[in-house]
Assembly symmetry: C3
Homo-oligomer: 398 residues x 3
């Protein structure tokens, strides 16, 4: 990876208007302009090239990155850790079980108490509809108020590591994967991507991945098809955003209740299970009431409902219907693989195996995407800062 | 924050005799001379100014900081993490559940095993009267013996992150808050501070905060009034220290069984719940015997006892009795706020809300105080080292 | 510690052929040549001298070290943390409970997902015979495949932090302790070391320590005697390695069912409890079948079997039989100390107490050994890199 290639990527960044990203939380991709979204890809690419050239990207001599995971995570946890480490921030996990939150702390209080020397706060809160993103905005308001009141000496930036609405670090890494796979962002225009529901023997999976995908991929002039059985609707407001995006970008956004139809001629397929929006709303309400019996009954109902759609499996037969029979298969991982992690799942072992390396590469962009999100929020002139880093030429491994 | 201001703070430090702090554990504030206490404030202030001036305070290229929390913590945990990170130490938490301590390790053994490359060990052990501070001293003796025997190549410094007797990082941060709020340490002379018990629907809260407050604030020439219902006595030996301090410093230390009387004309109020010392001694003994029924009976008894004093709530009516009706309200957080975190608690929502920003600022001094405690124990000539750091001028954020 | 002493140690390293260590996982000591084993001691010694001379050994500006502990650990956990920190890597623990492994991830997937920016992966997996080392090799294959496929930009190195077969960071630290204690590796020739089973009131302790000891100590021309009651056999393949090693190195490897015989004239004794190999195989199988009743029955049986050998205790009477009555007593810690951590255990309190400092020193070499293992796997020309570090002269503590 030579110096010139890095300089070119920085020059491309300098063409973009990304002023508004400074100090702005990254909560939903649709909060950002096309230039700003492009800036994330561009900075991520510079960081990738710098790493390949063994150049240090440590812009912080000290400082904390706080993570708060309210749901399990491997990829995102380690991606966030990698991104922060690359920039020079030390990760501290807020384990709510070990903190005093149970002992009467409010969101506002906790947010300030963990932020005295924090540059970034990453949060995963994806379990309950209407809760996760709301919580993140409460934290954002709290640290903003803390900063305005002179309590915090810096205003930490929030990065959404998956909420009930969007999963921006996932969808952005997915998009970067598409850009690298097809060669350029422009190559995505006119491509057909099928974001399809798929069967899983579990229930209650978040809607944030399919929502993130239709909310982002509609911006690149693609034909985005959303497929799911009746009853597995996404949040209407996100579908509206997808429609609006498609209109602006010159692609399309359509829906179908047939996986086959969605796969027909598709260049990219993204088959993944999720829970029905309305059921998730009901579940959130039941949890709120502490209605354990109601939750159990709902689980049973949902699993029975799922089981009606066991044929929604991404297998070779379906893949044959895609463009040239070799659409790019995507998944956020871990996937429910038929005969491997479950009897019958989202994808056949054969299809999964064929795309395994590409799936892992897809995941591999996430650390760079997260680092880019943090970087753009912390430096008002990102192009100049990257140039300084590249010119300083400090080695990552001595 | 200009260079001159930093230099002035360092010069003030150079006037103080803080030689004895080198390699000395920070366990109780009354283990330290007035100059040494002042040195902590002074170094904390230099670090704060350096951070505001974007100067790196990283004095360690590598090295570990070990934390051991035997009770929940948010503020102190993140403050310790922030302080260590600012100095260049990586935090490693000794989670006793994941270690082999249950499998036969002695305190002496564990202390040495975690310390091979440790510069500092921070411990919270505040649950049992007669235990926490004793444990810290055992750890201190163990690492001292390890160092003397050539097992440890450096003698890690202990920092008390709250024990059964004192909570020095809290009381010192509280004092720094007072110094900043009133403008100078000298301005504290003659001020009246009411350290008062307050009602809480929980029981068994440590005594270390009120003890830390009366043990420290009596050193600044203040009129320190301790108020609590009968039966909520503190440890007699700490009260003696408070008396002695007040005598030396020219202030006063008095006690009352009336919250109103304590608040009368007070410049500062610190209403906070704690458990009665004798009950805590009994509880420690019951735990030692594994007497579960006895513990349950004691809990019930304590909660009933607490409930007799529900009127010990810091509310606007009481605040009206303070000097000018606007005494500074303090709390170590989290507070039991009436109508917010409980039906009836230590403080009314109205009072808490009015002082919220100041309470958060109060907490914000803790990272600097901890960093200063570590720094003074690790560098024999702190003034020169700070001057070197300031003159090196390395940026914290590039 | 002067510069010349460091240079001498580096020169000694340069005499050794350790080319093959670059990018090679450290799983079993017998995977490495004598020169390579010696190189680990040599690098560990350079790091120790550099630390004593306050020189930074930070060769990584950024990068992650991943730890995965499937069993409790204090020493190894903190040694690994210390080693990684010294080299500039930030430790991230893969807590399987918090990850999505339960949710369908394969070993191959997890291994890649945590490795995007990882330089080293340390694993402890010692509970089940036939499982731990196998798991490590699966992880190694997975990251190799990921690297070959261009998924990983670097191939992280694995370090075995204890498996079912070997405990190389322990045995190598133990050997370094012997070298330092007796003055030189050459001084070990002809020394008699008794690796003896000892009674413990617990069961199911791993075989990896005795196996690691006989597999390594037989390389130094020592007379290695393995002693245990009938029924406490080690894995036959490791005994074969010990025999072969002894033959090559010019020492001996013998077995006895008498602790007294083993101690007779010994220069070093290492009395430690372990479970019988066959019982461990049976246990692994029972766990595999989820046969809880069978496991309980086996536990009972094993404890009863152990209890027949309560006289296998290292006490002063036995120590009198050793060479001059003052053989070096070793243990990997924590030890079951009679009258301290249990009624009757592996060692009497008197013997343990007499050797306590030496035991702690023994443990103190582990951070350096681990750092050396990582370093030799990450740098193709370790001697030159160490020279650069020493000449750069960057201070660890400023």
């Amino acid at each position: 990876m030579d110096k010139k290639s890095i300089e070119e990527s920085i020059s491309a960044l300098d063409m973009l208007d990304c002023q508004g990203m400074f100090l702005k939380d990254f909560l939903l991709t649709w909060d950002f302009s096309d230039d700003q979204i492009q800036a994330v890809f561009q900075v991520a690419e510079v960081f990738r090239k710098m790493r390949l050239a063994n150049l240090s990207a440590k812009v912080f001599e000290s400082g904390l990155a706080i993570s708060l995971f309210r749901d399990n995570s491997t990829r995102t946890r380690f991606s966030f850790a990698s991104a922060c480490n690359m920039l020079g921030l030390e990760l501290q996990d807020l384990d709510e079980g070990k903190s005093q939150i149970a002992h009467g702390e409010t969101v506002r209080e906790t947010a300030n108490m963990i932020s005295f020397m924090a540059e970034v706060i990453g949060i995963r809160d994806d379990m309950y509809i209407g809760k996760g993103n709301t919580y993140m905005r409460q934290v954002a308001e709290a640290v903003q108020a803390g900063y305005d009141a002179g309590i915090l000496e810096q205003r930490p930036t929030l990065v959404n590591l998956q909420c009930d609405i969007d999963h921006p670090t996932q969808s952005m890494a997915d998009a970067m994967h598409l850009i690298k796979y097809f060669g350029a962002k422009e190559k995505l225009e006119g491509k057909k991507i099928a974001m399809s529901w798929a069967y899983s023997p579990s229930y209650g999976k978040p809607l944030s991945v399919p929502q993130g995908i239709i909310g982002l991929m509609t911006r690149f002039g693609m034909d985005v098809v959303l497929a799911h059985p009746e009853g597995y609707e996404l949040m209407p407001e996100v579908e509206e955003i997808a429609l609006k995006n498609a209109h602006t970008a010159g692609g399309s956004f359509s829906k179908t209740h047939s996986m086959e139809e969605a796969f027909e001629g598709a260049d990219i397929v993204y088959p993944k299970s999720w829970a029905p929006f309305e059921a998730m709303e009901k579940r959130t309400e039941l949890y709120g009431r502490g209605d354990i019996e109601g939750i159990k009954a709902l689980e049973k109902e949902l699993l029975a409902q799922n089981a009606e759609f066991k044929n929604w499996e991404c297998n070779e037969q379906l893949m044959q219907k895609t463009n040239g029979g070799d659409a790019l298969y995507m998944h956020c991982l871990p996937a429910d693989i038929s005969g491997v992690s479950c009897n019958r799942g989202e994808v056949s072992a054969q299809v999964f195996e064929r795309y395994r390396d590409l799936l892992y590469k897809q995941a591999g962009y996430k650390p760079y995407i997260i680092a880019a999100m943090i970087f753009l929020a912390r430096f008002s002139n990102p192009g100049r800062k990257l140039t300084e880093l590249a010119e300083a030429g400090k080695k990552r491994v001595h």
